[in-house]
C-alpha cells in the first residue's frame, strides 16, 4: 500500500512537472529543434523513477542517521546558544551557510577526481531539459543533499520554517536545467537561471557557475559566467557508460573493472 502511495506520488509529480515545464520549453526554447522525446529521454526517465521510487528514500534514510550522529556530537550548549537567536536570523544563517557549502562542495566535485567520478553522471547529459535535471548518482545525491542540509543539522534549525525556501529551491533546481532561455535582465545576478546553469554543463569541466539558486557565490568567488548565447554543446568529454546500470556502477567499481566485466558478459 505504501508503495502504491509512492507510485501515485511519483506519477503526480511527473504530471505536474510536465504541465509546468513543457509549455515553457515550447514557448521559450533554448535549443529550438530539441524534441520532447529527445536522445536519452528514456535514460533520464530511469533516473527520475529511480530517484522517486528508490534512491530518494535511501538518501533520506542515510541523512537521517547522519543528522542524528551530528546532533549527538554538537554540544547542547552551543546549540542552545545558536537557537537563542531570532528565528529570522537563524534562517538567514542557514540559507547562506547552505549556499556557501554547496558552492564549494560543487567546485570540489569538479576538481577532485573521486568526487567527479560520481558527479560526472549528472554532467553526462548531452541534452538539457527538466527531466535531465534528475540525472544524478545516488552517492552524489547523498553528498550534495548532505552538504546543503549540514548547517540545519548543526544548528538544529527547524526546517519547517524554511518550507517555502526548500520548496522553491527544489523546483528551481529543476527549472535551471530546463530547455528554456528567458533572459531576466539584472535579476540574473541575484537568482539562478537556465542561461547560467546551461554554461555550467558546458563540455569544459571547469566552466563555472557552481552556485544554483543564486549566483551570488559565483560572483563573490569569480566563477560567474554569462555569455549572451547558449553553449554549443553540453556534456562531458570522457568516454562514459550510456546506460542506467552502467552509469550507476562504473563510478563505484572504476572504468577498467566495469569494462572487463562487460567484456566477460558479452562473451
Amino acid at each position: 500500500m505504501a508503495f502504491l502511495y509512492l507510485l501515485l506520488g511519483t506519477f503526480l509529480s511527473f504530471v505536474f512537472l510536465i504541465i509546468l515545464f513543457v509549455p515553457m520549453e515550447r514557448v521559450f526554447p533554448a535549443q529550438k529543434g530539441q524534441a520532447i522525446f529527445r536522445k536519452a529521454w528514456v535514460l533520464d526517465l530511469c533516473y527520475f523513477l529511480g530517484q522517486y521510487l528508490l534512491w530518494g528514500s535511501v538518501v533520506y534514510f542515510v541523512l537521517s542517521y547522519f543528522a542524528d550522529w551530528l546532533t549527538g556530537i554538537v554540544p547542547s550548549d552551543f546549540r542552545t546558544m545558536l537557537q537563542s537567536q531570532a528565528i529570522w536570523l537563524q534562517a538567514i544563517e542557514a540559507i547562506i551557510l547552505s549556499d556557501l557549502l554547496i558552492y564549494w562542495g560543487h567546485r570540489l566535485q569538479h576538481k577532485i577526481p573521486f568526487l567527479w567520478r560520481f558527479h560526472k553522471v549528472h554532467h553526462s547529459a548531452e541534452r538539457l531539459d527538466w527531466l535531465a535535471a534528475h540525472r544524478e548518482h545516488p552517492l552524489d545525491s547523498i553528498y550534495t543533499v548532505g552538504l546543503i542540509n549540514l548547517p540545519m543539522f548543526i544548528l538544529g534549525f527547524p526546517m519547517e520554517v524554511l518550507a517555502g525556501v526548500i520548496a522553491f529551491r527544489g523546483i528551481w533546481a529543476i527549472y535551471i536545467h530546463s530547455n528554456v532561455r528567458l533572459p531576466i535582465g539584472p535579476l540574473k545576478k541575484i537568482i539562478g537561471s537556465p542561461e547560467l546553469h546551461h554554461w555550467h554543463h558546458h563540455l569544459d569541466k571547469n566552466a563555472g557557475n557552481y552556485a544554483n539558486i543564486s549566483p551570488l557565490m559565483d560572483l563573490l568567488f569569480g566563477t560567474y559566467v554569462c555569455p549572451d548565447h547558449e553553449p554549443e554543446a553540453v556534456g562531458i568529454r570522457e568516454d562514459f557508460s550510456k546506460n542506467y546500470i552502467g552509469q550507476l556502477v562504473e563510478p563505484i567499481v572504476g572504468k577498467s573493472r566495469w569494462d572487463r566485466f562487460q567484456d566477460k558478459f558479452k562473451r
Binding site: 505504501a2 530517484q51 547552505s98 564549494w104 535535471a133 540545519m152 526546517m159 526548500i166
Partner: protein, 217 residues
C-alpha cells in the same frame, strides 16, 4: 501579437504554478503541511520528498522517537506531517509491504516491529529491571507497561533471581557502567566537536587551496 500573448500567458501560468507549489508546500492550502524536512539536491532532486512521506514513515517514526527523547533538535528531520496518526493508520500496511526489498525504511521499521512482537509474545510475565535495547525501549515509550514486559529473553530463572537478590556486585556493576557511559558521553562530545572542527578546517582548506591553485574561471 498572438505570439506575445502566448508568451505572457505561459509565463504567467509558470509563475503562478510555482507560487502555488511553494504555497502548497508551506501549508497555505490545508492544515497538513507537506513541507519537506530536507533540502533536495541542488542538481535537481525530487519535489522535496513530497511523495516520500508514506515510504519513509517507518524510518521517520523511529527517528522522531529516538531524537525527541535524546536529541530534541533533530526533530527538524521529521516532516510536518502528523506522523503518529499516519503511522497508526499505516502500521499494518507497512508491515505487509516488507517483502519489497526496495523499501529500505519500511524494512527497517518492520525489523523493529518484529523485535517488538518477539519481546512481547515470548514473555508476558516478569517484571525485572533489565536494560532493554535502546531502540525498543524508545518504541515503547508511550506504553510503560510494555517495557515491563520486555524481559522475555532474560526472564530470570530461580538461580538468577537468587543472584539478583543476594549479590550486590550486580548492582555495583550497573552503577559503574552507568557512570562509565556518562563519562564516555561527556568526553565523546568534545572529541566529536574537535573532529568536526578538524573536518571543517580540512574542508575549507581544500576549498581555498583549490581556489588559489587552479584559479578557476
Amino acid at each position: 501579437m498572438i505570439q506575445n500573448a502566448i508568451k505572457v500567458l505561459t509565463l504567467g501560468f509558470f509563475i503562478s504554478m510555482i507560487t502555488g507549489f511553494v504555497m502548497y508546500r508551506t501549508g497555505a492550502f490545508d492544515s497538513t503541511t507537506a513541507s519537506s524536512a530536507l533540502h533536495t539536491s541542488p542538481n535537481g532532486g525530487e519535489l522535496n520528498n513530497a511523495n516520500q512521506a508514506p515510504n519513509s514513515t517507518g524510518n521517520l517514526e523511529i527517528n522522531q522517537q529516538n531524537t525527541n527523547e535524546i536529541m530534541p533538535s533533530s526533530k527538524s528531520l521529521a516532516p510536518a506531517i502528523d506522523l503518529k496518526k499516519y503511522e497508526q493508520e499505516q502500521k499494518k500496511e507497512l508491515r505487509m509491504s516488507s517483502s519489497k526489498s526496495m523499501m529500505l525504511p519500511n524494512e527497517f521499521k518492520i525489523d523493529v516491529e518484529d523485535i517488538k512482537k518477539e519481546y512481547v509474545s515470548s514473555s508476558k510475565s516478569m517484571l525485572h529491571p533489565i536494560k532493554v535495547e535502546p531502540t525498543a525501549s524508545k518504541l515503547f515509550k508511550e506504553d510503560p507497561e510494555q517495557i515491563a514486559k520486555l524481559q522475555p529473553k532474560f526472564s530470570p530463572t530461580a538461580s538468577d533471581t537468587k543472584q539478583d537478590i543476594t549479590s550486590d556486585p550486580t548492582k555495583d556493576h550497573s552503577i559503574k557502567s552507568g557512570e562509565k557511559e556518562e563519562i564516555r558521553k561527556t568526553s565523546g562530545v568534545y572529541w566529536g566537536l574537535v573532529g568536526l572542527g578538524v573536518l571543517g578546517i580540512v574542508f575549507v582548506g581544500i576549498g581555498i587551496f583549490v581556489y588559489f591553485r587552479y584559479k578557476l574561471r
